[in-house]
Symmetry: C2
Subunit: 413 residues, 2 copies
């Protein structure tokens, strides 16, 4: 007998038919003897509908009241799903975040889970009930309703898995697992059976939007086995754990990419202490997030400084940078919002030096110029002209032989 | 400085514009120095929309889960109203029934309020906040969400008024007060300034659907001054209290009526002990409510027995009565679902014997035959043919001079 936490996102519970299908799946699993906790999101579109109502009244709605409003979305789903389960003859019980004491801090709209009292859920499970919990929401010390921010239902599921000591946390989505890269770009892309948390974090943050980053961090912290599965198709999905053991450890897990970024460069900045702070301080002061940052060694007492921001913030960042440029006495400011970032990710590269050179060689062979490079222990990212994105991803996918089942070092290394 | 609880029903908060209008009204009242607690219902149509979702899944949805679902309706309203108040620069705070510990029993869908912990609301009021509470909902001893049943928001408002020791409970509706009778039937109908709880109970239960009966009982029990006002027009409305003192006490407050009932008669029943029980037992066993009951003195060892039920239950009741008739050896069963009930209501009739005779005389003059009569301390009800309803109500309204301001005994007595 295993205890499994299953999370169903907005698309998986987007209509009454889909809610019934989720109930069917849970009931079948319960009849096989599993103890089950379901964590659900609001029906797709509902959170946006509620947000729309609030924004019609006030463009900056009171954050506490916004959470009171938004939390009704999941509450509707837990009730409907429980009704559908009960109809099938299996006892079910729904709980809001407050009812199972998903205690968070008081940061409305983006609260963080601090602790969960799992006793009530354990009691229900011991009575054979399927427990249905509202994702995305909690309650602060004073009893105020909070929400965890977009994608927070994944975090709720992982936190509950940890608090209950459950065997596995299954995240049901509209894809059947994590792929070596986006199959729309590379039709040969292959579903991965197994990944490490670190790899998933790099893949998620780099554009493979299957799981919310925070939930993976959380899973890693509490060593919760996480599985990504399809709500609509059967299959084993992708299991994410701390270690992928043995011979089958692949060198490279996948190729992530995005075209959400834009780059900005300030040229000929006098090279003296504090220059990075003077450039980036005003940018983060304007609430603009910065991703890659590159500063090369100076020359003739000046240096060049390049960084990337989200494409939506490009014009705002450019304006701020031009102002800083005058203050700093820099020579020139340039920018480009037609860029793409491609990243090769894999824990295997820790022990293999050749990954970066294979990557650069492959791109060079295709005539793709690399504009920026940044590396971490388990990834190498490059920025290239946007128009080369698909070509580059396909070439790399093939060079690292990701279409083949893992188990051997690609011949090109 | 007064503390007022104001309740706004579904129509009063039916659109975002109306929610903004309610916020405007509350803010103006707060700026005049009043301490305010607002109790709100779900936006009109929302409860039915949610019920519809549940019924699409299961025609008999699990009662506990139904309450989890329905309670989201008011939760949306409290959040939107609080956002609208905050936008106007007055601090507001919303609470669900659970958050302010509106403790009920565990009778899902029709729970009764047992106690309220008003401390949290008092704290907010002392900080100058307008407190916005979800009507219609509460929480049981174990933390399960409950609802009070249709119209329960009135009860929430009255219970909060009592718990807070507030000065007045104002119920905002789509009418500007309680009238001597339905103005659609008698255009001369007059708004009453003042009524007693007893009169309101008789008027409400007899078809003047302005206030929920349970909330009036509650107000009477805790001596909460209750005022019915229009959300859309200004005016003093109708105040409902324990006593209407002094010279201005009217003899008759109003004329209530309904055409929701049907009557059933069993003729020639052997007149022996237990016969009423044998007739009505199976009726109430089938969950059919009985209103008027009349049994005349027996003759020749047999008696006739007549009662009224809701028109929707007529055919079901008739079938049951025919079965009982066979068992009891009665002569005949008859019925009529084309009847109307007209009631004259007023505390003044306690001390005036002439009311009933004026009523009967007036109806006789119009050629209206009386089929059944039933009386209580402050009302006389008659059942007549449905087609005479409007004629009878108009004749009685005029005979008791209800169109005139009270203060004198009608000349006809």
């Amino acid at each position: 007998m295993t205890l499994i936490v299953q999370k169903f996102g907005g698309t998986s519970v987007g209509t009454l038919e889909r809610i019934e299908a989720v109930a069917e799946k849970l009931v079948a699993s319960r009849r096989q003897g599993h103890d089950l906790v379901a964590v659900v999101s609001a029906m797709s579109g509902e959170t946006n509908r509620l947000l729309g109502l609030a924004h019609e009244i006030d463009t900056q709605p009171n954050p506490r009241e916004l959470d009171v409003l938004l939390s009704t979305g999941e509450q509707v789903t837990i009730a409907l799903l429980s009704i559908a389960i009960e109809k099938r003859g299996i006892p079910a019980r729904s709980y809001t975040g407050a009812q199972v004491h998903i205690r968070t801090d008081s940061a409305y709209n983006k609260a963080r889970i601090q602790e969960i009292d799992a006793q009530r859920i354990r009691d229900d499970l011991s009575h054979g009930r399927i427990v249905v919990v509202a994702g995305f929401q909690g309650v602060d010390e004073k009893g105020n309703i909070t929400t965890l921010g977009r994608g927070g239902s994944d975090t709720t599921a992982v936190a509950l898995t940890a608090a209950l000591g459950a065997d596995e946390c299954q995240i049901y989505t509209d894809v059947d697992g994590v792929y070596t890269t986006d199959p729309r770009v590379v039709p040969e892309a292959r579903r991965l059976d197994h990944l490490t948390y670190e790899e998933m974090l790099e893949l998620a943050s780099l554009g493979a939007k299957v799981l919310q980053i925070r939930s993976v961090e959380f899973a890693s912290k509490y060593q919760v086995p996480l599985r990504v599965l399809s709500s609509f198709e059967s299959g084993e999905g992708t299991l994410i754990t701390a270690e992928v053991e043995g011979m089958e450890e692949p060198l490279i897990s996948g190729i992530a990419f995005n075209r959400d970024e834009a780059k900005l460069t300030i040229l000929g900045v006098p090279d003296k202490p504090g220059v990075a702070y003077h450039i980036l301080g005003p940018i983060s002061g304007a609430n603009i997030g910065v991703d890659m940052i590159i500063q090369n060694v100076g020359r003739d007492g000046t240096t060049d400084f390049t960084f990337t921001v989200h494409r939506n913030d490009y014009l705002k960042a450019l304006k701020i940078l031009r102002e800083s440029s005058r203050t700093l006495g820099a020579r020139e400011v340039t920018g480009d919002d037609k860029i793409a970032k491609i990243s090769v990710v894999g824990v295997g590269m820790r022990s293999h030096a050749g990954i970066a050179s294979t990557m650069f060689h492959t791109l060079a062979q295709e005539g793709i110029n690399i504009q920026m490079i940044s590396t971490s222990e388990i990834k190498v990212s490059v920025v290239v002209d946007e128009k080369y994105l698909e070509l580059g991803v396909r070439a790399l996918h093939s060079a690292f032989e990701l279409e083949k089942t893992p188990g051997r070092i690609p011949s090109s290394l």
